[in-house]
Symmetry: C2
Subunit: 259 residues, 2 copies
């Protein structure tokens, strides 16, 4: 079959939180079928090498260039995979692929694109401690690289005031050292001091680190780029257990009719 006659295919594959056991069968199959895999280097390093399969590593600030290269490669007739940690649709590569399709040549709109979902970080961290996302919740990126900080503040006020549990993605980085502390200060204005807070990183990996604390004591310096933070609502509860991490959960039934 000539290259011209082959139809290319682009899979955008979620790797889950990191441990290969968190990959879905669909994701594993999409990776096995790929002629070429594009992604952030550390994500590619998680994948066992396969003979004949090309790997293209790029920096995590090169998303647009990576998406363009992958689409170009797919239009040449190859089966191409782009990988994201967690779920590709949550603050990750799927939106970048869509953006590049919208602004790129018409031929890119003809590419067969499949997004393969995965377990996003907030689900993995929540599972480690119980069910803090058991009722209404939101996912909010603290990165002010791509949106203004005052919008982030308004979003924090809106969801905390309305009783949503909040999962904070991208809480900090070398270039954004003060934002998480500012977010905690803002949250302390409208949520009670004992509100449960969970710090989680590298779930399922050797360096997994989970901490359950309260909003009053939440140490912003504990977080790094790979940390996901869950801030409970006034409804979220901590259940102590002898010799184990406490359970943290948000009940399905709303207790405070006045909230």
């Amino acid at each position: 079959m000539s290259v011209e006659a082959r139809q290319g295919r682009l899979s955008v594959v979620g790797l889950g939180p990191g441990d290969p056991s968190c990959l879905t069968a669909e994701a594993r199959d999409a990776l096995a079928a790929a002629d070429a895999i594009y992604g952030y280097g550390p994500y590619l390093d998680r994948l066992p090498p396969r003979s004949g399969q090309m790997r293209y590593a790029s920096d995590n600030r090169q998303e647009i260039l990576r998406a363009q290269a992958a689409l170009r490669h797919a239009t040449d007739g190859a089966a191409v995979a782009v990988v994201s940690g967690g779920d590709p649709g949550v603050f990750a590569m799927a939106a970048t692929i869509c953006e590049v399709v919208e602004t790129g040549p018409d031929s890119w709109r003809a590419v067969d694109i499949a997004i393969v979902p995965g377990v996003t970080a907030m689900l993995a961290v929540a599972a480690r401690v119980g069910a803090p996302l058991g009722h209404d919740f939101c996912a909010l990126s603290l990165s002010d690289n791509l949106k203004p900080w005052d919008l982030i503040e308004r979003r924090i006020d809106a969801v905390a005031g309305a009783g949503f549990v909040i999962a904070l993605y991208n809480p900090t980085s070398h270039a954004r050292p003060w934002q998480l502390g500012a977010a905690f200060d803002r949250l302390r204005r409208c949520l009670p001091a004992p509100t449960p807070v969970v710090f989680g990183r590298a779930v399922g990996r050797m360096d997994e680190d989970i901490m359950v604390t309260t909003l009053a004591e939440a140490p912003s310096a504990r977080a790094d780029m790979a940390t996901l933070i869950i801030v409970g609502s006034a409804e979220t509860r901590i259940v102590a257990r002898p010799g184990r991490l406490p359970l943290v959960y948000t009940p399905r039934t709303h207790q405070c009719a006045s909230a």
Copy 2:
């Protein structure tokens, strides 16, 4: 080994959206290791039978009784699994298990509990159309069985006004026929008419049904109990593609500084 000496274990396992290919390896292994599986009948029906493994089906309004029975069984020394569709931590059994542990006998706090995350419905539906959850978003249950309707209205106003994409869980049921229409009416007050809306049900199953529409035209009668609805923000975009479903995505970069 005597029953008294065996330590019981309770796994709360997410089955993902329905297709067995969406199960993680960790979930598959937890199910294979279980002596007994508890769950809503239709979820149990998805699992291939295994010799010697007991199945306990119950109605989807029997969560508390199911959780109590599973914990009791685990304290007898068995490896017990409780299954949820999607992710067990999102409007599902993990919160019920935690609640029952908190209110039950002390011995239940000693049970080895593992929550095994899965791909929740909003991630599965989002993946089918692109990346509508590509930026800040929330998950909101429209069920007013467990919280008052006026709180749901306030939460809709808060998140729509602050620019979050909204995933609506439990949009309707025979006993709750008007709530989704009322939610759409409320959303139309603060979001533009062309705001993209996605209806998705039974992703990966034979009866999968995905529809991309706008807030102006969103037909609440189209939804049933198994439907997940994603309502975009003012930033969410639709990219037409010849011969394919359009892509729907929310860009990583915020465009409207005034939003």
